[in-house]
Symmetry: C2
Subunit: 700 residues, 2 copies
C-alpha cells in the first residue's frame, strides 16, 4: 500500500515551472497554493528563476531548495523536460510528484516512451507519481490546492476521484452551486503510477472521508482492484460511474485516453463481487453520494412516508414499489397513536397525510411515532408549499425528532424559494433534501443496497471443493495444447469435466468399431454416436449423428455407416474417429458458461438452456473469483429457469444442489486454467436427483 | 367542446367569500387578483359586505353586481353554502365558476350529494365549473391569478394541468427557482364538471401554449380522452405524469381523491394509442417540457456531439446508445471540413473533441459544419469549465450558428457558477441547457419520439374487415347469456370465432356417440375428444381428454369411455356432452388475449404462447380501439416470439399475415361485444401458411 500522506498534507510543495506570468499553468498552480489557505512552504522552481515568484523565493531546481520539508512537487513544464525534473525530485528525496503536463501515453509514439521512462524514474526513487496529463489534487481540509482548478471546493466528507481532468473541474464548479462539500478531489490522468486503487485505498483510512465517488473510464489491475475494494467497501461506500459502457462510448474511450475499456457486463459482475456500487449517471453518482454523506444507513426496506399532500404521497408510493422497497404497513397500534396527532381528514395509513395545515409540532410528533417503531427502517417526509406551512420551523422539528432516533430520514420539499431556509437547516443537520420524491427513494434504495453489501458473507464457495484432480485436467489440456488445437473435442472435454467432479454424460472416442462397441457396453445403453472431427461442422446434416442405439451390434454397424458417410461428404477430411456418448434421459435444460475478461478473469453465466438461449436471453453473470454461496444462490434465483427448477405448476422440483455443485466446479476449473478462454455447457440436464452436463465446449 | 375563454381571460371576476381578513381564503384570492396585474374588474362578494374589500366595491351577492361583464366567479365559501352561490351565478349569467372549496365528493357521504347537486346546477345554467376542491387557475399572459397560490409564475409557453392542488403550488414555487415560465396553470380538483380533457382541448388552440404538461391520478372518460388527445397531439406535445402506477400507489390514490385508478398497463397502451407521452417522474416531466418549450423537433435519430473534454463525450455516447438514438457516423467529407477548424490533438470523429482551449469561433464553425449536413438531425454541445473557456461568448456563438439551421441543439454545461451567464443567453434564445449529458439525451429522445408520433398513420386497421358475421356471433353470445353462464364452452367459442373469420380448429359438441362420430367424419381425422362441462376443471386428470383418434369406431368407443370416467369422478355433475375437436398439426405457439379496461375498452395482448407464458412473459399490449397496421406490426415485432415466427436459425418463416389477421379479428370482436370481459387464445398455432386458434376461452 502506497503512503499518500505527503500528497494530501505535505509540509512543503515545489512547483516546477512556476511562473509570474498570468494565465500560464505554472502561474495558476502557484497562485492556487498561495490563495487556498495552504499553511506549508511553497517553493517555486523555474530554470530562469531570479528572485521571487508570487511572493515566494524561487529556485532554479528542486536541488537548490535549502530545506528538507518538501513532500510534494507539482510538475507543470512541457513533457520533454518533465522526466529530468522528476529525476531531480528523486535526488532531493521528494516522495510525491504530480505531473500535470500532457504529451505522454495519451498521444502515443514518443509520448509512450516518455511515460515508460517516467515510470522507471518513479520506481528507482520510490516516488508516488500522480498523472501525467492530470488536473492535480485538492484537499479541502488541509487545505491544499495542488491543481490548476481555480475554484476550491467547500470542505465536506465526500471524496471524488476522476480519470478525466475536465470532469473534475466541472464537478468542483457544479458543487459550488449545489452546496456539496468535498474532503479530497483527485484527478488521475494517465495513471502511470498512482491508480484509482491506490487513491481509494488511502481514502478508506481517511477520517475526513465518509463516502468515495469516482468517475472511471477503465481499470488497470483487475485482480488488485477486487482485492482492495472488498476491504474498502466494508469500511465506506464506494460509488463509481464507469463510462464507455456502450459500444459507441467504448470507441470514444479508446480514442480518448487509450484506456482499455473492459467488457461492460464484466464490470457489472466485478463491481457486484467486491461491493462497489455503480452509478448510472453523474446525477445518480452525486445524489447517492450526498445521501451517503449525510445520513446513517437503513437496516431494512420498510419506509414510512409522511406528506402534507396526497398527490406527493402517491408519487412516492409508486417509486417505492419501482425500487423494490416497501411502503411499511402500519400496525393498528401505530395508527391509533397517529390518530391522536393527525386530524380526521388526514390519513393514518401509509403514506401518512398530515394535511396542508399541519403544524411543526404535528410533523415532529408524527415523525417520532413512526421512527419509534421497530418495524420502520426509514422515513421520507414530503411537503408542498401551503399558505400555513412554516418551513423553517418544520425543518427544526424534523431535526429535533431525527436526533432521537438512529434512522435515515429523507426530506422531499417540492418547491423552490419557499424551502430555501428549511433546506439549509436540514442539510446542516445532516438530513438530505430533495425536490422530487423519486430522487429521495432512489437514494434510500442505494443506501439499503450498501447496507446489504456490508452484511453479505465474503467466504469463497469454490476454495475447498472435494474430488478435484487438477493434475489429470492439466494433462489433458496440455496434450491438446501440444497438438496445436484451440478447442477440446467432446471426449477430451468430458475427461476434464470428470477430473473436476462435474457430473456429465460419458463420452469416449473410438477409432474402430470394436472400440466403439466396447465403450458402449461399458457405459451401458442407449448411446449416441457422433463423427469426431473439429473440421466437420454440420454433423447432423451429413448423417454424422445417430441417436438411441441400443445394442453392440447396432453400434458397430452405425460406426461404419457414419465413417462412410463422412468420407462421402468430406473425402478430404480424416475424422478423429467416432464419439460414443451415453444417451441421458431428458431433464430440465440449463446453460452454464464462462467468458474470460482480460482484467477480472472468468465471468460465469447461468440460465435457461436449450436451443433458444439467445432468444430467451435468461442468463445471469457473476464474477468467478471469490464467488460466495450467497451469490450463486442469487444468480440462480434471478433467472426464469429457476422457477422451472423449483417445480413449475406441480412438476417435481429438480436437484438444485446438483446445479450449484456444477456451477462451483466449472468456476474452479476456469479459475485454475487461465488458458481456458471460453466454456459452454448447453444443456445441462437437471433431474429430480443429480444433473448431467451434455454438450461441453471448451476453447483455449 | 367547452368554451373556456372566460375562465382564462374574463372581462370581470367575482370572488364569492371575499374577505379583508388576512390569511382567509377569500382574502388571498382577492389579493392575488389585485396584485397579479389583472386588468379586468374585480367584484368581491360577501354576505356581510359593507363598502370596499381590498379597495374594490363589495356586494352581498353576484346578483347585485351592476354590470354584465363578469365572466368568472371564484367560490371560496364552505361547501354547504357553495351550491346556493353557484345557483346565483347561473341566474346572473356567469359562465365560468371555480369552486375552491373542499368538502365534496372527496369526503364521501354528504359531500358526494353536494357534488351531485353542483353538477345539476352547472348543467341547468350551462356553467363551466372547475373543481370543487381545487387551487384555481392562473394565466401568466392575461395576467390572471384566480387561485390561492401566492406566487405568479413567469410567463412562458408551457401549460400545466394538475389533479393535485398541492402539487400545483409546489410546481409554481419550484418554477421560480428554475426559471421555467408558464402560459396557464390549472388545478382540476374533483373534476365534477371540467376535466383534464376539456382543459387540454382548450389548450390545443391556445396560441400562448406550445407544450401541455399534466399530473393526473385518474382519467374519467376513457373514450373521449382518446378521441380528443389524438387530435391535440397532432398539434402539440402532451406529456402526462400518471401516478398510482404501483399497487401501493393505487391504494393511496383511492384513499386520496376517490379517483378510479385504472389498470396501469392500460394507461400505457391508451397513451401510446393517442400519442400522449408518459413521464416517469416529475423531473422527467419538466425536463421534457422545457426541451419541447424551447426547441424545434428533430427529424431523425442521428446526433452529433461536440465537446471540449473527452470524458463528457464518452458519457454522452453511452447515453445515446442507452436511449436507442444514434451517434451519427461522420462522413470523410464532414471530417475533412472539421479538420480545418479543429487542432490536430482534437477529434473529428463523433463525439467531436474541440479541446479545452477551443475559441467561441471554433465552437461556432464546428457547429455550423455539422448542422449543415443533411444526415445530422440534432447536436449536443458539451463544455467543462477550462481556464480559457469564454462562457458568454461561446453561448453567443452557439446562438449565432443555431439561427442559421432549423435543427434542435441541446447544450450541456457541466458546472455551476462558470455557466450562469452563458445559460441565460442560451435559454433566452430558446436553446435548452442541462448540467449533465444524460438529461439532454433523454430530452432529445422524447422529442424524437414525439416527432415520430406526429408522423404515424392514424387509420384504424380493424374498421373494414371482410367476412364478419356479427349477427351470428350475437346469436351465440345472447344464447349463452340467456342460459345464465358467464363463459362460453369450446364449441360456442369456436362458433363465435368462425363468425368473425378467425381461423380456428373446429370444435363440435356431441351429446351422443353417433353425433361425435358424425362430427369427426365431417372434420376429418385425427380428432381430439374432451369432456364438455364448465364444472369439471381438471379434465386431463380424470381421463376426460383423449387425443389422436383416427377412426369413427375409436371416436364412439372413446366417447363412452370419457362419459363413464366423468361420471365416476364426478357423480353429481351432468356433463354437456363431449367436444370433438380437429387435431391440428403443431405450429409455432403464440398467444392472443384481451383484457377489458373499464375506461379504455379492450387491451389486446400478443406474445409467446404455450404452457410457460407466465414464466417467459413475452407479451405486448396494445389498445384495441383505433389500432393501426403500424401498431400491430410494432406489437408483433416487440416480442421475442416474432423472431421464431420470422424463421429462427434456418426454420421456415411462419405466415405473419395470418397472425395479423387473427389479431385484427379478435380486436374487432372484442370492440363489437363489450360484454366479452376476457378472451384468451393460447395457443394459436402458426404455420408456413395460415394459422389455427386452438384453445379459445371467452368470458362474459
Amino acid at each position: 500500500m502506497k503512503d499518500l500522506t505527503g500528497l494530501f498534507n505535505p509540509r512543503g510543495v515545489a512547483v516546477i515551472g512556476a511562473s509570474s506570468q498570468e494565465g500560464k499553468l505554472g502561474y495558476i498552480v502557484t497562485d492556487n497554493l498561495r490563495t487556498c489557505g495552504y499553511k506549508g512552504n511553497v517553493y517555486p522552481i523555474n530554470i530562469k528563476a531570479d528572485g521571487d515568484i508570487l511572493g515566494f523565493p524561487a529556485y532554479k531546481s528542486v536541488l537548490d531548495i535549502p530545506t528538507d520539508d518538501c513532500d510534494l512537487a507539482v510538475i507543470a513544464i512541457p513533457s520533454r523536460f518533465a522526466n529530468a525534473s522528476l529525476e531531480e525530485c528523486g535526488q532531493k528525496g521528494i516522495k510525491n510528484v504530480i505531473v500535470l503536463t500532457a504529451g505522454f501515453n495519451e498521444v502515443g509514439g514518443e509520448g509512450t516512451k516518455l511515460e515508460e521512462e517516467l515510470q522507471e524514474i518513479a520506481k528507482k526513487y520510490d516516488i508516488n507519481v500522480q498523472g501525467p496529463n492530470c488536473l492535480g489534487s485538492l484537499d479541502a481540509h488541509t487545505p491544499l490546492n495542488a491543481s490548476f482548478a481555480q475554484i476550491m471546493p467547500k470542505p465536506g466528507n465526500i471524496a471524488f476521484v476522476s480519470q478525466s481532468g475536465a470532469m473534475t473541474v466541472a464537478i468542483i464548479d457544479w458543487s459550488v452551486s449545489e452546496g456539496i462539500g468535498f474532503s479530497k478531489v483527485v484527478s488521475l490522468g494517465n495513471k502511470a503510477d498512482i491508480s484509482e486503487i491506490d487513491v481509494i485505498e488511502e481514502l478508506a483510512d481517511d477520517d475526513k472521508t465518509d463516502v468515495i465517488l469516482g468517475y472511471l473510464e477503465g481499470i488497470s489491475e483487475g485482480e488488485r482492484f477486487l482485492e482492495v475494494m472488498k476491504k474498502v467497501t466494508q469500511k465506506k461506500p464506494v460509488i463509481l460511474l464507469k463510462s464507455g459502457s456502450s459500444q459507441a462510448g467504448a470507441k470514444a474511450v479508446s480514442s480518448h485516453t487509450g484506456a482499455l475499456a473492459g467488457n461492460d457486463f464484466a464490470f457489472d459482475a466485478a463491481f457486484e463481487n467486491c461491493g462497489v456500487m455503480r452509478a448510472k449517471s453523474m446525477q445518480d453518482l452525486f445524489d447517492l453520494g450526498t445521501a451517503f454523506s449525510k445520513s446513517e444507513l437503513p437496516h431494512g426496506r420498510n419506509i414510512a412516508v409522511i406528506t402534507n399532500a396526497g398527490g406527493g404521497g402517491v408519487l412516492t408510493a409508486d417509486k417505492i414499489e419501482d425500487e423494490e422497497l416497501v411502503l411499511a404497513e402500519l400496525t393498528d397500534e401505530t395508527m391509533a397513536k397517529l390518530r391522536e396527532v393527525i386530524p380526521e381528514e388526514g390519513s393514518v395509513y401509509n403514506p401518512i397525510d398530515v394535511l396542508g395545515d399541519a403544524s411543526p409540532e404535528g410533523y415532529e410528533k408524527t415523525l417520532e411515532i413512526v421512527l419509534a417503531e421497530d418495524y420502520i427502517d426509514s422515513a421520507i417526509i414530503m411537503a408542498c408549499p401551503t399558505a400555513s406551512y412554516k418551513p423553517k420551523e418544520v425543518g427544526e422539528a424534523i431535526v429535533e425528532a431525527k436526533n432521537k432516533f438512529n434512522k435515515p430520514i429523507m426530506v422531499v420539499n417540492m418547491g423552490g424559494p419557499t424551502f430555501v431556509e428549511e433546506n439549509k437547516v436540514l442539510r446542516e443537520n445532516n438530513i438530505p433534501t430533495f425536490v422530487f420524491p423519486e430522487t429521495a427513494v432512489k437514494a434510500l434504495k442505494g443506501m439499503e443496497v450498501y447496507s446489504e453489501i456490508k452484511e453479505k458473507s465474503k467466504e469463497s464457495a469454490v476454495d475447498n471443493l472435494d474430488g478435484i484432480d487438477k493434475e489429470e485436467a492439466t494433462k489433458i489440456i496440455e496434450s491438446v495444447k501440444e497438438s496445436g488445437k484451440d478447442a477440446l473435442i467432446g471426449s477430451e472435454a468430458y475427461q476434464v469435466a470428470k477430473a473436476y467432479g462435474i457430473s456429465a454424460a460419458p463420452i469416449v472416442l473410438a477409432t474402430t468399431k470394436e472400440e466403439a462397441g466396447q465403450a458402449a457396453d461399458d457405459m451401458q445403453y442407449p448411446v449416441v454416436l457422433k463423427i469426431a472431427s473439429d473440421k466437420i461442422l454440420h454433423k447432423t446434416d451429413i448423417g454424422g449423428v445417430q441417436v438411441n442405439i441400443n445394442s453392440r451390434e447396432e453400434v458397430e454397424e452405425k460406426f461404419e455407416e457414419i465413417i462412410a458417410r463422412a468420407k462421402e461428404a468430406h473425402p478430404d477430411i480424416v475424422p478423429d474417429g467416432v464419439e460414443v456418448q451415453k444417451m441421458m434421459p431428458k431433464g430440465q435444460e440449463v446453460l452454464i458458461g464462462m467468458l474470460r475478461d482480460a482484467q477480472f478473469g472468468p465471468i460465469i453465466g447461468f440460465g435457461m438452456g436449450g436451443i433458444y438461449v439467445n432468444l430467451i436471453n435468461d442468463v445471469n453473470f457473476k464474477l468467478g473469483a471469490g464467488i460466495t454461496d450467497e451469490a450463486i444462490e442469487e444468480q440462480i434465483n434471478s433467472t426464469k429457469v429457476s422457477k422451472l427448477l423449483e417445480g413449475y405448476r406441480g412438476d417435481a422440483p429438480c436437484d438444485i444442489e446438483a446445479v450449484k455443485d456444477t456451477l462451483k466446479r466449472v468456476t474452479r476449473l476456469t479459475l485454475d486454467f487461465p488458458e481456458i478462454k471460453e466454456l459452454d455447457i448447453n444443456p445441462v440436464f437437471c433431474y429430480e436427483e443429480g444433473s448431467s452436463a451434455l454438450d461441453i465446449k471448451i476453447k483455449l
